[in-house]
C-alpha cells in the first residue's frame, strides 16, 4: 500500500507537505468580550503568560497552553502598553510616556504599586509609540521610541528627545541614550543578551530587516540626529553631516512645506552599504527581510530555545503584523558582523503579529492586533499559539557564506540526482535604495551563475559555487529542483534570502571537485508543489488574463502581500481598485508611482513597485481593469 501511494505520489507530482503539516496554529481562548489588542507578551517563571494590550490592560494568563486558560486582570488604565517584562517579582511595562514597575504588594493578584522608573518626553504626536522593555543581563532595561508622524507623514520627525532612539534605563531611573536612527522600532528584541530590533519600511528604510543595536550606532533614519548635540549622546553624527553626503530629495515648496518625494527610476541607486563608507556609525541590516515576501511590518524577534521546533533550535523567528506571518532566520558572524539567511516559516495567523513569547511547553505564543494598519489575517486581535508536531519538514536548515558561494545545509538528505544538477539551483542578487522616498523597489538585480555544486556524502549539505557574489547585496537562492532523498518531496520553502555583508576568506573549491552537470538545456525540471500553470496553451486566447493566469505574477511581485482579489487587507482589494476605472496606463503608472492620497481610508502607503517588469505589469493592470464589470 505504501509502495502504491508512493508511486502515485511520484507519478502525479502531488503536493509536497506544507507549513501547516508541521506547525499548527492553535487558539488561546480568551474570556468573552475581552479585547486583547496585544502590545506585550512575556512568559513568567511559573509558566503563566503576561499580556499587555493597546487598551491599557495587563492580564496574567494561567495555563495558557491548555484548552481553558484563565485570565486575571492584573492592571488597567495604562497608556497603550506595547511591551512587558518580568523581574524579581514585579512586572515592567512600557507605556507611551514611561517605563513603569508594577507590583502586587498585598498578594491579591492585582497590581497596587505603579512606580515610574523613568518618564521620557512626548510631544503628543499620535505616532510616538514606545516599545520594550527588554531586560539586559545586568538587569537594566532597553526601550525604543518611535518617531512622530506629522501631517506630512512621509517625513517623520523626532519632535522631542529621544524619539527615534533606543534608551538604556537603570532601575534607579538613570538613562543612557544608546543608539539613534530608528524609524518605527516595534521589533525590539534581546538575543543572547544583545539588543536587536526590526524596523518598518518607509523613508530611509527600503525594507524590513534584523539589525543589531550597538551602543553609539546610527540605525539609518536621520530624523533622530537632531539630538546628537546633547551631552548624553554617544553618537556625534549631525543632521548637517548626514545631508551633506546625501543627494536624496528632501523637497520643500515655496511655503516651506515638505513635499512628498517620489522614486526616480532613472537615478543611480544609493544603498546603505554605499553610505556606510561615509558614516562608519551606520549599522547595516544583519539580515534583510524582503518587503512583501518576509513581511511588510516586521515585529518581535525571538530565538528558538533548545528543545523547541526540532532542527531549528538556536535560530531566530520574526513576526510580522501586516502579513500575519512568521519568518525564520539563520545568522552567522563573518568578519565580526552578523549576516545570514531568511525564509518564510509560517503564514496564516488570524491577525497581525506584534509580539512573540515562548511558552514553557516549547510552543510559541503570538500576540496579535491589526487595528489601524490592517493585516492578512482578518481578526482584529487575539493570542494564538504555534505548536510543532515533532515531524521534521524538508527545509534548508542553514546557509553559510563561503569565499566562492554558499554552503546550504538541509534538514533531511537530498536526492543526489537532483542535488548534483546545477539546474536545481538559481541565484540572483538585489538590494534596496537608501533614500527619503517611502520604501524602495528592489534595485540593481543581477543573475548569479551557479558554476558547480558539491554535495556531501550524507546528502545533507550542498556547497554551490556562485559567480558574481556582491557584498552588501541580498542573494535570493532558489532550489526549486531539489528533492528529498526519502520521499521525493520538494522543499517546504524553496527560496532563501541571504544578506551578504561580508564574504569570508577560506579555501576555494576547484571545478574539479564539483559537479557541473546542468540538465536545464536538455529537459525542463520536474515541478514542485505549485507549478501547475497551463498558461502555455492559453496564450492565444483572450487578451484579458484570468486570475489564475496573473496569480503567479501577483505573488512573485509581492502584490499579494497587501492586496487580495476580493477583500480589503492592508491595501484595497483589486476589485475595489478596479472601481476607480483607471485606464491600463494609469494603473501601470500607479503601480510604479503609487498615490496613497487616492486611498484616504487606508493607513499604510504603498511603496513604488518599479521592479515589476513591463510585460508583467501590463498583464496585471489589464486584469485589474477587467474586474470592473
Amino acid at each position: 500500500m505504501t509502495f502504491i501511494l508512493l508511486s502515485i505520489t511520484c507519478f502525479a507530482q502531488a503536493e509536497s507537505p506544507k507549513e501547516d503539516d508541521y506547525f499548527k496554529i492553535m487558539k488561546v481562548s480568551a474570556p468573552e468580550g475581552a479585547i486583547l489588542e496585544v502590545g506585550g507578551l512575556c512568559t513568567l517563571p511559573n509558566s503563566d503568560l503576561g499580556v499587555t494590550t493597546r487598551r491599557g490592560d495587563v492580564f496574567i494568563v494561567k495555563n495558557p497552553s491548555s484548552l481553558k486558560p484563565t485570565f486575571q486582570k492584573f492592571a488597567s488604565g495604562l497608556h497603550e502598553v506595547l511591551g512587558l517584562a518580568y523581574k524579581n517579582g514585579s512586572f515592567y511595562c512600557v507605556q507611551r510616556g514611561e517605563l513603569t514597575k508594577m507590583t502586587d504588594t498585598d498578594n491579591d493578584g492585582v497590581a497596587d504599586d505603579f512606580e515610574t522608573i523613568y518618564a521620557w518626553p512626548l510631544s503628543g504626536n499620535y505616532h510616538e509609540y514606545s516599545f520594550g522593555p527588554k531586560l539586559a543581563a545586568d538587569g537594566s532595561f532597553f526601550v525604543t521610541l518611535n518617531l512622530g508622524f506629522p501631517p506630512a507623514w512621509w517625513n517623520p520627525k523626532s519632535l522631542v528627545p529621544w524619539r527615534g532612539w533606543a534608551l538604556r534605563i537603570f532601575e534607579d531611573g538613570r538613562i543612557e541614550p544608546w543608539a539613534a536612527g530608528m524609524r518605527s522600532p516595534c521589533g525590539i528584541s534581546m538575543i543572547d543578551d544583545q539588543l536587536f530590533y526590526t524596523d518598518n519600511q518607509g523613508d530611509w528604510v527600503g525594507s524590513g530587516s534584523i539589525m543589531q543595536v550597538k551602543k553609539g550606532a546610527f540605525m539609518g533614519h536621520p530624523s533622530s540626529l537632531v539630538w546628537t548635540n546633547l551631552p548624553q549622546s554617544p553618537l556625534k553624527l549631525t543632521t548637517e553631516q548626514f545631508f551633506a553626503k546625501n543627494q536624496t530629495k528632501m523637497i520643500y515648496d515655496s511655503n516651506g512645506n515638505s513635499v512628498k518625494p517620489e522614486n526616480d527610476v532613472n537615478e543611480k541607486a544609493v544603498t546603505e552599504f554605499d553610505m556606510k563608507k561615509n558614516f562608519p556609525e551606520l549599522q547595516l541590516p544583519a539580515v534583510w527581510l524582503p518587503h512583501g515576501i518576509l513581511g511588510i511590518s516586521n515585529s518581535e524577534i525571538v530565538k528558538i530555545p533548545p528543545g523547541s521546533f526540532g532542527p531549528f533550535a538556536g535560530q531566530l523567528l520574526v513576526g510580522d503584523q501586516g502579513q500575519s506571518m512568521i519568518s525564520r532566520v539563520f545568522m552567522e558572524k563573518v568578519n565580526g558582523e552578523y549576516q545570514g539567511a531568511a525564509w518564510p516559516f509560517r503564514s496564516g495567523f488570524q491577525s497581525g503579529i506584534v509580539r512573540l513569547a515562548w511558552g514553557k511547553d516549547g510552543s510559541l505564543f503570538a500576540g496579535e492586533t491589526n487595528r489601524g494598519w490592517g493585516s492578512a489575517g482578518e481578526a482584529t486581535e487575539g493570542i494564538q499559539r504555534l505548536v510543532w508536531n515533532n515531524k521534521i519538514p524538508f527545509e534548508m536548515l542553514s546557509i553559510k557564506a563561503m569565499p566562492d558561494g554558499f554552503e546550504i545545509e538541509f534538514t533531511q538528505p537530498v536526492d543526489k540526482k537532483y542535488a548534483l544538477d546545477l539546474a536545481s539551483y538559481s541565484v540572483e542578487s538585489f538590494i534596496y535604495k537608501y533614500h527619503s522616498v517611502y520604501g524602495s523597489p528592489p534595485v540593481n538585480s543581477q543573475k548569479c551563475n551557479v558554476k558547480g555544486v558539491h554535495v556531501s556524502a550524507d546528502g545533507r549539505t550542498a556547497r554551490i559555487l556562485v559567480a558574481n557574489l556582491r557584498k552588501g547585496y541580498i542573494h535570493n537562492i532558489t532550489l526549486d529542483g531539489i528533492r528529498s532523498q526519502e520521499n521525493y518531496y520538494s522543499l517546504v520553502h524553496p527560496t532563501a534570502y541571504y544578506t551578504l555583508n561580508n564574504i569570508p576568506e577560506g579555501k576555494i573549491l576547484s571545478l574539479a571537485e564539483v559537479s557541473t552537470r546542468n540538465s536545464s538545456s536538455i529537459k525542463t525540471l520536474p515541478r514542485g508543489q505549485s507549478g501547475s500553470s497551463l498558461s502555455g496553451k492559453k496564450t492565444l486566447a483572450a487578451k484579458i488574463p484570468t486570475y489564475d493566469q496573473v496569480k503567479g505574477l501577483l505573488a512573485k511581485n509581492t502584490c499579494l502581500a497587501c492586496h487580495n482579489a476580493e477583500k480589503r487587507q492592508v491595501g484595497p482589494s483589486f476589485k475595489e481598485i478596479s472601481t476607480k476605472k483607471y485606464t491600463v496606463e494609469e494603473l501601470i503608472s500607479l503601480i510604479y508611482t503609487p498615490k496613497p492620497e487616492h486611498w484616504l481610508d487606508y493607513s499604510t502607503p504603498m511603496p513604488p513597485m518599479s521592479n515589476v517588469p513591463k510585460d508583467e505589469v501590463t498583464k496585471i493592470a489589464t486584469w485589474i481593469k477587467s474586474l470592473n464589470k
Partner: protein, 249 residues
C-alpha cells in the same frame, strides 16, 4: 453629527487640505468607545486643554460619584475637573487613534499644566511654566483597596504625595498634598484665574465656576496675589495641605 464624526471629518479635511486634493469628507459612523466609572477607575491618555496644550502624561480618575478629574504627571498638577460621565476613548482606540481621550461634557480647567509646587524667591516672583531647575521626577502612584490613586513625585529634593477624593455628595473634591520633610520658599498654587474673590469663607474663582476652601486656613494663611494680569491663590508649602475644590453649582 456627534463628536466622533467631527473628529473624523476634521482629520480627513486636514488630510485633504494638506494633500491639496478636494475630496469630499465622507461621514462614516464610528461606534463611540465610552469609558464608564462604575467604580473608581483610572485611565492614562493624552488630554487636550483649552488653548490647544496637550498633556502627554495625563492620568484621568473616574468615580461612581460622577465627579472626575485629570492629573498631569509631568507637573504634579490637577488640570481638569468635571461632573457627569467619565471619558470618551474613541479618539484613542478607534483605528490607529491619536493617543487622546476626552472628558464627556464640559470640564473645568483647574490647572494649566504647570508645576503646582514651586520655589519663589519672593512673593512677587512669577511661577515657571515647567519643572526646569526643580529636579522634578514623577514616581507613579499606589492604589488603595478601593482603587483610588495616591500620586507620588519628587521636587526640590522632597518626596510628595498627592491624593484626591471625591466629596460624598459629589459637590467637588478634597485634595491632600503632603511633603516628606520640608524645604524653604516653596508655595503651592491652588488656583490661577482672572479674578479670585474671598467670600463666605471660600475663594471663589469667578470665571471658572468653582470655589476653593482651605483646611486650617488660619495657620496656613493663603495669599491672593495679582501677577501678570492674573490672580493666584497661593499657600506656603511647609507641611501637609488639605483643600477642596467645589463646584459653584
Amino acid at each position: 453629527m456627534n463628536l466622533y464624526s467631527y473628529f473624523f471629518v476634521a482629520c480627513v479635511s486636514a488630510f485633504c487640505f494638506l494633500m491639496g486634493t478636494e475630496a469630499v469628507a465622507q461621514e462614516t459612523h464610528v461606534d463611540p468607545i465610552i469609558i464608564k466609572a462604575e467604580r473608581n477607575i483610572l485611565l492614562r491618555s493624552f488630554i487636550d486643554l483649552d488653548g490647544g496644550k496637550r498633556v502627554t502624561h495625563a492620568i484621568s480618575v473616574g468615580s461612581p460619584l460622577k465627579v472626575h478629574y485629570t492629573y498631569d504627571a509631568d507637573n504634579g498638577q490637577l488640570v481638569l475637573l468635571w461632573k457627569g460621565e467619565f471619558l470618551d476613548a474613541t479618539p484613542m482606540w478607534h483605528d490607529r487613534g491619536d493617543g487622546s481621550s476626552r472628558p464627556i461634557g464640559k470640564a473645568i480647567q483647574t490647572g494649566d499644566a504647570t508645576p503646582q509646587i514651586q520655589r519663589l524667591a519672593t512673593q512677587q516672583s512669577e511661577f515657571k511654566k515647567d519643572t526646569t531647575g526643580s529636579g522634578f521626577k514623577p514616581k507613579g502612584y499606589t492604589l488603595d483597596a478601593s482603587g483610588l490613586p495616591k500620586f507620588k513625585y519628587q521636587t526640590y529634593g522632597l518626596n510628595i504625595k498627592d491624593a484626591t477624593k471625591v466629596i460624598d455628595g459629589g459637590q467637588g473634591i478634597r485634595r491632600e498634598i503632603e511633603p516628606e520633610g520640608s524645604a524653604d520658599d516653596l508655595y503651592l498654587c491652588l488656583a490661577r484665574a482672572n479674578a479670585i474673590e474671598q467670600k463666605d469663607g471660600k475663594y471663589v474663582i469667578a470665571d471658572k465656576a468653582y470655589s476653593i476652601t482651605v483646611a486650617d486656613e488660619a495657620t496656613l494663611k493663603p495669599i491672593i496675589r495679582t501677577i501678570q494680569s492674573a490672580q493666584e491663590l497661593l499657600v506656603p508649602f511647609k507641611s501637609k495641605i488639605i483643600y477642596s475644590i467645589l463646584f459653584n453649582q
